[in-house]
Amino acid sequence: MENEYGNIDRFDAYLNDTISADEKLVFEKEIQENISFRQEFESYKLLVEGIQESRKQELKDYIKNNTKKEVKSLFRNNGKFYAIAAVIVFFVSVYIVFETNIDNSNEHYAMEKSEDTSVDKKEIPMGNPIAMEENKNIPKNDSEKIAQPEPIENIKEIKIDKLIASNNFPILTYRDYLKDQKPVASKSYSDNNGNAETTVESGNLDKEKTLPNTDKKDVEPVVQPITMKVDFYTSTDYTFHYSMSDNSKIKLYGVDKDAKIVFLHTGKKYAIMINENPYKIEISKGIKALIKINKDIYLK
């Protein structure tokens, strides 16, 4: 029994099991009794098997081709994006480095966060540095005393006569420092090294203290002096950093305006205390991650 489509329809129906039970019996009987019908059915099944294998291969090839393409297209389509992003990251990094004032002529020392509960755990916001110069006017006898290991009760104080500002780090007037304003243009007189200088008076940071008029741009900036002292036998850390230039000029960064800063030196070694937390400053190149003073370390 054939129709316009030959026996293909019957073969399809039999394989798909869409014929009735009676039709199935008739079909199977014809398969057994009719050789040409059986051969035609066998050829049909082989072709169907081949069609199915063709579809399988097509699907597998799709998986294979697209799992490879996924990696390629991801790069191809986003290659430009990654390249632009890399350039942006590069320039942002350069900007950040520039803004943090990494100066080849200075030695930066980073300090760890303080774990001392007596210290404000918040990171001190970056502020303008207060440059300090080694006090060359310290009497020799005082220096000799300082060089000796100090008992825990003793706290040394040295008054800083000068506060030096580098050309790279503009210095604030005291008034500006309190108001957290932008620094006055560093059009002050320069020292022999080309650094702006300013004279300071002894004493501690004091908000109420008035300073000479600094409204005029050509007036040399004045900064509240800093009295430095250190407790040798206390060790705490703090989050700020400073830089040490080759000529022993110390610049502080990120010091809170209300911080009580004390500085001590023995001629070669330095210590700084901020809000009564002491730190030892080591004069050496490179970045020091830890400046800590404990009873085993002496300013000698």
């Binding site: 316009e4 489509y5 030959g6 293909i8 399809d12 798909n16 051969q39 066998e42 050829s43 082989l46 072709l47 169907v48 098997e49 081949g50 069609i51 199915q52 294998e53 063709s54 579809r55 399988k56 291969q57 097509e58 699907l59 597998k60 799709y62 998986i63 294979k64 697209n66 799992t67 996924e70 991801l74």
Partner: protein, 187 residues
């Protein structure tokens, strides 16, 4: 297709039934690690992983296309069972080292994937020589199991009768091509 998109099992089934082959890539990526682990623990090589996983995914595709298909477990579990079954048959065929018994998979897969034979390869070869419409039509009918109404809609035929007539023409064309180059003795 967004390659990073996550598909739920119902979404995967829907996409397969729409003929979206991109979901195959998704299944491949999602299941590669676990299949790799199984194959490598059972005397398998890197090339075996791809073959087994592709075979398993195709079986999943074929099963999902059936109207009566009902997912009784997670699709990944179903695929894993198929892959494991495929690999075990492969090992038995090649008489390799006995695989480690996997006691976690409880699903018993009854549908066996057909093995590619030399006879089939002859037909596969000539399927590539058919036009795209004939090839797609035959694929959708004889593998995906779509009826003529669905095929007509997907391939843009006017109606199911037109699609049916076209299918007959394509089948006969393939038959003629194969028989013209191979005698009955080759089958």
């Amino acid at each position: 297709m967004v390659y990073n998109k996550k598909y739920s099992d119902p979404e995967i089934i829907t996409e397969i039934r729409k003929g979206n082959k991109d979901v195959l890539v998704y299944l491949y990526r999602e299941n590669y690690p676990i299949i790799r682990s199984y194959i490598q623990k059972n005397s398998g090589k890197s090339e075996d992983i791809e073959d087994v996983l592709q075979e398993a995914i195709v079986v999943v595709w074929q099963n999902v296309m059936k109207p009566e298909f009902e997912l009784t477990s997670k699709l990944n579990t179903f695929l894993y069972a198929i892959a494991k079954n495929t690999w075990l048959k492969h090992l038995n065929k090649n008489k390799r080292q006995e695989p480690i018994a996997d006691k976690h998979v409880q699903i018993h897969v009854t549908k066996e994937s057909s093995m590619e034979s030399m006879d089939s390869r002859i037909v596969v070869e000539y399927m590539q020589k058919l036009g795209d419409t004939c090839r797609d039509l035959l694929h959708l009918f004889y593998f995906d199991g779509l009826d003529m109404t669905e095929i007509a809609e997907r391939l843009g035929f006017n109606n199911s009768d037109t699609a049916k007539a076209k299918k007959y023409q394509c089948f006969k064309k393939l038959e003629v091509m194969v028989k013209a180059n191979y005698s009955r003795a080759d089958f």
